[in-house]
């Protein structure tokens, strides 16, 4: 047996032995996932699963071991993902620290920052949120106004962020602030601070889905130390160079969001044929709906191949640097189409907004949630602008 196949067998056996049964049930929605943090709400099995995975470094399998990661090779991390998928093991920890801040620190952080912040993220001790958008700075993010004024050993932060995911539940924030008013892109600083600081308030925003995953976040003379001791700076990379970090992270966010298009596992058509009914040939008995479902099944399988190719070329350094924008565009548009069809196939039943039968209108709420996919992290239109300019090199784009 090759090394990788030995690894696969051992991994599968370990997962079988250690994954709690509750953690092998599908995640219902974002609130059903394990987010960790200083004030966690754990459901049965979540903490055990997170802790035992963190002990192996497998909450962040491909991070280096010295920062709390698993130190796995690309191939091993892929195998772990495949085996977790096959055995239906949940992800042990959902975290903006893992998805976003971690990669930024690995790329731009100092050794002290990595040693301090990364293990906390890996163990799920600190829940992070992202302070990017502002009421006047959406697609044109670099026009942001939240200011951080240098006061010697600390900054004073004033301003407002919007669409801050789970700001009301987060412990710390990584935040884009303006440190130079005379520059646009070159006047932005990437700052880390505690959400428990005096002057930070959050206000959840009620969405069309009824849920409030996003907040408005207000900073009123928030004092942010320049150093957290032991050479741990609150600034990632350098003052006024935060846009480099932000751009890098947007790339990550885009590829992360794009992955949603391919999620959801099996054939939609097969699932709905069982629910809706079949003709004497065994075909879904609504021919137009059947055709639409087959179209989406094709798009989902095609996108899965694209995601695999994107991942492989990305890791091998063969992928165009702007390709995550294309992935984000395709993946989010596909996810929206998928949910439109899920609503159509579900008929009147999925319209029930509060009843127990629909788990409180879960499908309808998810459908509405998907509409944000092509807005958050850069709109589809911005993605197409980036592809036009950077990949197709169209003039004036």
């Amino acid at each position: 047996m090759s090394d990788i196949e030995t690894f696969r067998a051992e991994t599968a056996a370990w997962l079988e032995a250690n994954c709690p049964p509750e953690m092998r049930e599908p995640v219902v929605d974002e609130s059903d996932a394990c987010w960790g943090g200083r004030n966690p709400t754990y459901k049965p099995g979540q903490k055990e699963w997170m802790d035992i995975m963190a002990e192996k470094g497998w909450t962040v399998p491909d991070w280096p071991k010295e920062y709390g990661g698993g130190g796995l090779s690309r191939a091993e991390a892929k195998v772990l993902g495949q085996e977790m998928g096959r055995l239906k093991c949940r992800s042990p920890l959902s975290s903006f620290g893992i998805w976003m801040l971690g990669p930024a620190l690995l790329q731009f952080g100092t050794e002290e920052q990595k040693k301090h912040f990364l293990p906390q993220i890996a163990r799920g001790e600190i829940r992070w949120c992202q302070g990017y958008s502002e009421p006047g700075s959406g697609s044109d993010l670099a026009s942001l106004q939240t200011s951080a004024i240098d006061q010697g050993d600390h900054y004073v932060v004033n301003g407002q962020k919007i669409w801050t995911s789970y700001a009301d539940k987060a412990d710390w924030i990584f935040c884009l602030t303006r440190t130079d008013k005379n520059e646009k892109h070159k006047g932005i600083t990437f700052l880390l601070f505690d959400m428990a600081s005096e002057g930070v308030t959050t206000k959840p925003i009620k969405l069309i889905s009824g849920a409030s995953p996003f907040c408005e976040t207000f900073f009123d003379d928030v004092k942010v130390p320049k150093s957290y001791g032991d050479g741990i700076s609150s600034v990632v990379y350098e003052e006024n160079k935060g846009w480099d970090v932000a751009k890098y992270l947007l790339g990550h966010e885009r590829s992360m969001i794009s992955g949603q298009g391919g999620s959801g596992g099996g054939s939609l058509g097969a699932k709905f044929a069982d629910q809706i009914g079949r003709d004497e040939m065994g075909r879904l008995d609504d021919p137009m709906l059947r055709a639409d479902l087959a179209d989406i099944d094709i798009e989902l399988l095609a996108f899965r191949a694209m995601a695999e190719r994107f991942g492989d070329t990305f890791k091998a350094g063969l992928c165009h640097p702007a390709q995550p924008n294309m992935m984000k565009y395709v993946g989010t548009e596909l996810n929206k189409s998928r949910y439109e069809l899920i609503m159509t196939a579900g008929g009147s039943e999925v319209l029930e907004w509060e009843s127990e039968a629909t788990n409180g209108g879960l499908t309808a709420r998810d459908w509405l949630r998907t509409k944000a996919n092509s807005i958050e992290g850069g709109t589809s239109e911005v993605m197409l602008n980036v592809v036009s300019k950077q990949i197709l090199q169209l003039p004036g784009a």
């Binding site: 054939s267 191949a305 695999e308 070329t313 602008n385 592809v387 036009s388």
Partner: protein, 378 residues
């Protein structure tokens, strides 16, 4: 296996690209179209395909070929698509050879030397009507002496006019719609009772309507087993469909590239039209669709080479997705060229015509979408 070309495949791509561009580009295509030659392609060029080793791409090394797989066949086909190179490569070296690979040693020894030397041209005779319906084959092959007698018609046999050998699917038992009862034959086109009516298609390729009027073939013309032709047919269709999907990606990519070049040069309202967001977003959408199609086709070919039992599903996904993406490419291409897109002088219209013909070959997007539903059990 990572989902991108390895170093060897990359080298093959480079040499196929140089070859098609150098020997079989659009100017070459126009030359053969305009001289109205009976076969629609250059036999000299086909000989050069053979010298490059391309005709033996799916023939084993022991038998004198390159012993490569469907990924590599696709690499060559994408370049054929990009350059609109007229050749019988898809029907001969991909679909035809894959059918013969299911045949016995004597059969392979009989046909492979001619294919390897570029002297032989093969065509596949499946369809009996305007739409691809391989499950509805009704042409009869009845036992006669030591062999079979073929009666019936095959339609739209691409390269059927120039082929010396046809791979023919006929019914030895059962009736249209039955899984079993098909048999595949390798039939010499000079056989008594076989007549061909060549027709030029919209893309200037030549197809033949073939009539079999009591054509007698030996038992050793049977590929595989009598009444068990469905397996051989499936193998040939898988190869042909994956291959045509790869060529389709080439057509779509070629069309997209010349369109992007065009909008970068054309000025209206004192501006390069490529600066207009109305065009930029559509081109970026097209680029995205082509990227997804390319990944899907490569995935299908890798699965076919690995012998995956899900390969057939992915091939239909690839044929449908590549078909839709390339159709978008040629339609946007003509529209963005504006008036000159309607002229014969500009190449974009040639891509549109080629795409239309390829889309129909071995099943269009609708056909394969239906297959995907069936394979998913709905």
């Amino acid at each position: 296996m990572p989902l991108f070309l390895n170093e060897d495949q990359q080298m093959l791509q480079d040499s196929a690209a140089d070859f098609m561009k150098g020997e079989g580009d659009v100017a070459h295509f126009r030359e053969f179209r305009d001289k109205n030659c009976k076969d629609g392609f250059s036999h000299d060029l086909w000989k050069k395909f053979a010298e490059m080793g391309f005709t033996g791409i799916l023939i084993s090394e022991d038998e004198g070929g390159l012993g490569l797989g469907h990924v590599e066949a696709g690499v060559v086909l994408e370049q054929i698509g990009r350059n609109l190179t007229p050749s019988p490569f898809l029907t001969t070296a991909v679909a035809g050879v894959e059918a013969l690979n299911a045949g016995g040693q004597a059969m392979r020894e009989k046909y492979f030397p001619g294919i390897l030397s570029g002297d032989s041209v093969l065509a596949v005779a499946i369809d009996e009507g305007a739409k691809h319906r391989p499950d509805q084959i009704s042409m009869a092959a009845t036992r006669e002496g030591n062999g079979f007698k073929l009666d019936g018609k095959k339609q739209f046999v691409v390269q059927g006019g120039s082929a010396d050998t046809l791979i023919v699917a006929a019914r030895t038992s059962g009736s249209a719609g039955d899984d079993k009862g098909l048999t595949l034959f390798a039939v010499d086109t000079s056989s008594d009772g076989l007549s061909r009516n060549s027709v030029r298609l919209v893309d200037s390729a030549v197809a033949a309507h073939v009539e079999f009027d009591g054509v007698i073939v030996d038992a050793d013309a049977v590929i595989g087993e009598v009444d068990e032709g469905d397996a051989v047919l499936k193998r040939m269709l898988n190869a042909g469909r994956a291959g045509s999907a790869a060529e389709t990606v080439g057509v779509g990519a070629g069309s997209m590239d010349i369109t992007i070049d065009y909008v970068k040069g054309r000025k209206q309202f004192d501006k390069i039209i490529g600066t207009f967001q109305a065009l930029q977003h559509r081109l970026s959408h097209l680029y995205s669709e082509m990227e997804v199609a390319r990944a899907t086709v490569l995935k299908a070919q890798q699965m076919l080479d690995e012998g995956s039992d899900k390969a057939e599903l992915m091939i239909s996904v690839a044929k449908a997705k590549a078909g839709k993406a390339a159709a978008l490419s040629v339609k946007e291409g003509v529209q963005m060229h504006g008036g000159v897109g309607m002229t014969d002088e500009y190449d974009i219209g040639l891509y549109m015509k080629r795409d239309r013909a390829l889309a129909e070959f071995m099943g269009d997007a609708n056909y394969h979408t239906n297959l995907v539903a069936e394979m998913h059990g709905y």
